[in-house]
């Protein structure tokens, strides 16, 4: 699909990318303890005896974490393993109280799946399927704070034991754009499912980026892994920088070493963290404190039944049932909040106009994507902070749909709604924006405009038809914008012959 190539001194190179995404499971409590998981709490205030690995403390799996991982697996059409198991990954570090991380190496809860990404918003043909190898559940570690004391590091265990899903892709991506699209799509799905809030700036979602380069058609090269990359943009930058670095290295006669790297966004470069030689021997073995996880059919059925309509299906429905453009359908389904907002708007508009949703969907989609998004953009606000509610938006659309106000008046009403938060009908009333469909009044106004612009009428009749818009504008101006534009058009056409 992608023909992204690095142009090296000795020819073209292809980049091969795989992502391991760590997504924090959205639950109130940690994976194996009852401690809370809220972001931004004071250090060490969300730590149970289990999280601090006190002697004799034991992990008890949080059923909700398992449920969310299974729902996520179902959402990417993956195989769900009805029997899975937790293993211990052993290593010493100050942010890892137990001296091991409870993870799933040998028997992950979710097996093979895939997601489809669209590389170009405007081109529905530009899709590619990215394979997902597995999803497993594991504990997060705590955090070291190096800026609290001149010679010591402090440890904050609030994150210790928080549940993560590690979502491991196949090395199926071939360009920065594909890696970015994959991560963005994965984030969208997780947010639809509700299994992860996708807040990358809070660390709820981060990616380890595996990159290698090769001559097109040749076997995979040696890969590096750049850890903890926390935005779509940075992932794309890592791929680009790392691929270029590897090509330059190889072309200089060097060899890529398998190693862990870190991304420095300020300098836009990756740096070596540790090589394979000093890699840990994690001594994985099954956690003897925990029983295997066995899922029954009723549990799987509940997980399946609780899944919402997913982005691909929703987008398809918007296009085929609601008749939206591919572009609008894409924009409105990219974020779960946007689609929820749109559907509430659509429902309100349809109800107030007494029409089926499919008849008013285009109007609603256009208004939302151009009018409201534009206005919110100017205010620097997101949709969730919009002072205009979906119901109020629906009311406004109904006023236009029923012909009570004109489209241009609707723009003014929206501005006032954003300013005051008042209902559109109140604003229309107060500002006197109700448009007139009184043909007598419109004819009088048209007659006056034509009389005052006899020269232009002559030009128009002489063939300068572009002047029609001028007459419309003058008439509307004379009617203070309240003339029903359709009737104004009709009357003008009749009078100008």
């Amino acid at each position: 699909m992608s023909d992204y190539r690095i142009q090296g001194a000795t020819g073209e190179w292809e980049v091969v990318i795989g992502l391991e995404v760590h997504a924090q499971i959205s639950t109130q409590a940690k994976l194996f303890s009852g401690a809370a998981t809220a972001f931004g709490a004071e250090p060490n205030t969300q730590v149970s005896l289990v999280d601090a690995a006190m002697p004799g403390m034991l992990p008890v799996p949080n059923r909700e974490c398992i449920r969310q991982a299974v729902r996520t697996g179902l959402a990417i059409n993956a195989q769900i393993n009805k029997w899975s198991r937790f293993d211990r990954k052993n290593y010493f570090y100050a942010d890892l109280p137990q001296g091991y991380q409870i993870s799933q190496l040998y028997h992950p809860i979710v097996g093979e799946g895939a997601i489809e990404v669209q590389l170009d918003d405007k081109n529905p043909e530009s899709t590619k399927t990215i394979g997902i190898e597995r999803i497993h559940i594991e504990q997060d570690a705590g955090k070291l704070m190096h800026d609290q004391h001149p010679t010591m590091s402090y440890v904050d265990l609030n994150r210790s034991g928080v549940a993560l899903m590690e979502i491991v892709s196949r090395p199926d991506m071939r360009s920065p754009a594909e890696a970015g699209a994959y991560l963005a799509k994965l984030r969208t799905i997780l947010r639809y499912v509700g299994s992860c809030d996708g807040n990358m700036d809070q660390g709820s979602m981060r990616a380890d980026v595996n990159v290698s380069v090769r001559r097109p058609g040749e076997p995979f090269g040696t890969r590096t892994e750049t850890k903890n990359v926390n935005s779509v943009r940075f992932v794309m930058a890592v791929v680009e920088q790392e691929a270029k670095r590897q090509v330059a290295l190889i072309e200089d006669g060097g060899k890529v070493v398998q190693e862990t790297r870190l991304y420095d966004p300020d300098r836009n470069e990756t740096r070596s963290m540790r090589s394979k030689e000093d890699a840990h021997d994690y001594r994985y073995f099954p956690d003897p404190d925990l029983l295997p996880v066995e899922l029954d059919d009723a549990f799987l059925e509940e997980c399946r039944a609780s899944l919402p309509e997913l982005p691909d299906a929703k987008r398809h429905r918007y296009e085929t049932v609601l008749g939206l453009s591919a572009y609008n359908a894409g924009v409105l389904t990219a974020e779960v909040e946007t689609s929820r907002w749109f559907e509430a708007l659509l429902a309100a508009s349809a109800t107030q106009q007494g029409k089926p949703e499919s008849e008013v969907a285009k109007q609603a989609a256009n208004w939302l994507t151009s009018e409201l998004f534009g206005a919110l953009n100017k205010l620097g606000k997101g949709l969730l902070e919009s002072p205009v509610s979906p119901d109020a938006g629906g009311e406004l659309l109904a006023l236009v749909g029923k012909g009570t106000i004109s489209g241009s008046a609707a723009k003014q009403v929206l501005e006032k709604m954003l300013e005051t938060g008042d209902a559109p009908s109140v604003i229309v009333e107060r500002e006197g924006l109700t448009q007139t469909s009184d043909t007598g009044a419109i004819e009088a106004a048209v007659d006056a405009v034509l009389a005052a612009n006899a020269d232009k009428v002559a030009q128009y009749k002489g063939g300068k038809e572009a002047l029609f818009g001028f007459f419309v504008g003058q008439t509307m101006k004379a009617m203070q914008g309240k003339g029903n534009p359709q009737l104004v058009n009709e009357v003008l056409k009749a009078k100008l012959g």
Partner: protein, 498 residues
């Protein structure tokens, strides 16, 4: 008629509970008598790491008050006990007999100890043990070894009380505690019980919650009671057992009325005698007592059946892979960061702190097992050792399940010899490990198993017999134990020299 202090300390769990309930004596009198006996014996036996006479008195006073108020009394009401220092006790130092936890005072109470307090028991103190329960002689304790109250006839040589629950066995056999908690990973209740002429049962894996017990090997660790006789074990096990949602491996099954259902009539029962346990060069006294045990069970009405437990000889090596592997990981948390010992040399970094702390905090046997465990889990060795050992474990369980198709309970010696002298084995860890040879198979299979005193060897030292039952059939084990107890007529006790 009021009892003297030594009459009170001669009483076991059932007798104390009954006497307190009937008002023959008060719980406070009992606690006072045992507190005094503990204090008097402590310099000689070193059975305790921490003494808590006030805890024993406090619990006793509460029982006496409840009785006076006419409230119902618990299963262990008025019984002061020793608590192995592996159980976390709120506000009382919990050391696992290790320097790394030398000053550790937990802010939480283990499920098992809490259940015992809820049942009316009181705490005499925290009992000494092998460090992190790793050992068979109590010589790995960082607080000095326990000395067995038993001596060979005509000798003053110091003997091992067994391990790892050596403080428990010494205290119960010396009559300074009517009962004590133990934990058994590969024989740590049964072997010390056998060495000191008392009874002890390791229940089915999962019967007793592991929550709050300092972990050695999670898939094997089980708590259980150690007491003077089978009935006392049944009473105390009822108080200790029960489902605990805080332990994922806890059994979600009701606790049976083991005491009420005790029945030494074994008519209709079949007892299996495993051929593989009769080893070449077996101690003659051990063989003799085993034969006597067979005769007693026959006399109790049981049919004796020879059985095969074909993979027995692989049990010990498998155990000494699995237990250290789990231990190497379980003990990683003792790193000097959050609690316990921290050795931070001047200018040291994190790795130096780990090294210094663990070097200073762990004893040699603990270090040896961490190293063995780390080795067997290492890349390249994992399959050859750990995976293979797990396969052996499965085969051993299968041997037992096959045998239990035919028999109801299995009879075997508890340990290959009577108690050995302190210092006799420390230089030879493999010989020490061999002490567990009869105990380990039931541990690997998670089966209930108990040791009951059966007789004395030629030097006047106690020997125990082991009964192994089906999963969840503690009753069958206790019943067979009771049948032996009734016929063995074991009344020997160590002559008081302390």
């Amino acid at each position: 008629m009021p009892k003297t202090a030594s009459e009170l300390t001669d009483l076991g769990v059932a007798a104390i509970r009954e006497g307190v309930a009937k008002g023959e004596f008060t719980a406070v009198e009992v606690a006072g008598a045992f507190n005094a006996a503990v204090a008097a014996a402590q310099p000689a036996l070193n059975a305790f790491i921490t003494l808590t006479p006030e805890k024993a008195l406090e619990a006793a006073a509460a029982v006496d008050a409840d009785r006076a108020a006419g409230k119902p009394l618990g299963k262990m009401a008025g019984v002061p006990i020793g608590m192995k220092d592996l159980f976390a006790t709120t506000g009382t130092k919990t050391t696992a007999a290790s320097n790394i936890l030398g000053n550790f005072v937990p802010p939480y109470e283990s499920t098992v100890s809490q259940k015992l307090w809820d049942a009316g028991a009181g705490m005499l103190g925290k009992l000494n043990l092998d460090q992190f329960a790793m050992g068979s002689s109590n010589e790995t304790s960082a607080f000095g070894n326990v000395i067995s109250p038993w001596r060979r006839e005509g000798s003053e040589a110091q003997l091992a009380p067994g391990g790892s629950s050596g403080g428990s066995s010494a205290a119960v056999s010396a009559r300074i505690a009517p009962a004590a908690t133990g934990t058994d990973t590969g024989g740590s209740i049964r072997q010390p019980a056998a060495f000191t002429g008392i009874s002890g049962i390791k229940p089915t894996y999962g019967r007793c919650s592991r929550w709050g017990i300092v972990a050695f090997a999670s898939s094997l660790d089980q708590a259980g009671p150690m007491a003077r006789d089978v009935r006392d074990c049944a009473i105390m096990l009822e108080a200790m057992a029960g489902f605990d949602p805080k332990d994922s491996t806890s059994l979600d099954k009701p606790v049976p009325d083991w005491e009420a259902n005790l029945n030494a009539d074994l008519r209709g029962k079949k007892v299996g005698i495993p051929r593989e346990y009769r080893m070449d060069g077996m101690d003659a006294d051990v063989a003799r007592v085993w034969d006597e045990g067979i005769a007693w069970l026959k006399d109790a009405g049981a049919e004796i059946v020879d059985i095969n437990l074909a993979h027995t000889k692989y049990a010990l090596p498998a155990y000494y892979i699995i237990a250290p592997a789990e231990a190497s990981s379980n003990l990683a948390r003792y790193d000097g960061v959050r609690y316990g010992l921290r050795d931070l040399p001047q200018g040291a970094g994190l790795q130096d702190m780990y090294a210094a702390t663990r070097a200073a905090g762990f004893g040699p046997e603990v270090k040896r097992r961490i190293m063995i465990g780390t080795y067997v889990l290492s890349a390249g060795f994992y399959d050859a050792y750990y995976t293979q050992a797990q396969k052996v474990r499965t085969l051993i369980s299968r041997d037992f399940m096959d045998a239990f198709q035919t028999v109801d309970v299995i009879l075997a010696p508890t340990a290959p010899t009577a108690a050995f002298g302190l210092g006799e084995m420390v230089s030879d860890p493999l010989a020490m490990y061999l002490n567990d040879v009869f105990a380990v198979p039931a541990s690997l299979a998670g089966l209930p198993a108990m040791s009951v005193p059966a007789g004395l060897d030629r030097q006047g030292l106690p020997l125990g017999l082991q009964l192994i039952g089906r999963p969840f059939d503690e009753q069958g084990v206790l019943d067979a134990g009771l049948a032996i107890e009734a016929r063995a007529g074991f009344t020997a006790r160590p002559a008081k020299w302390w």
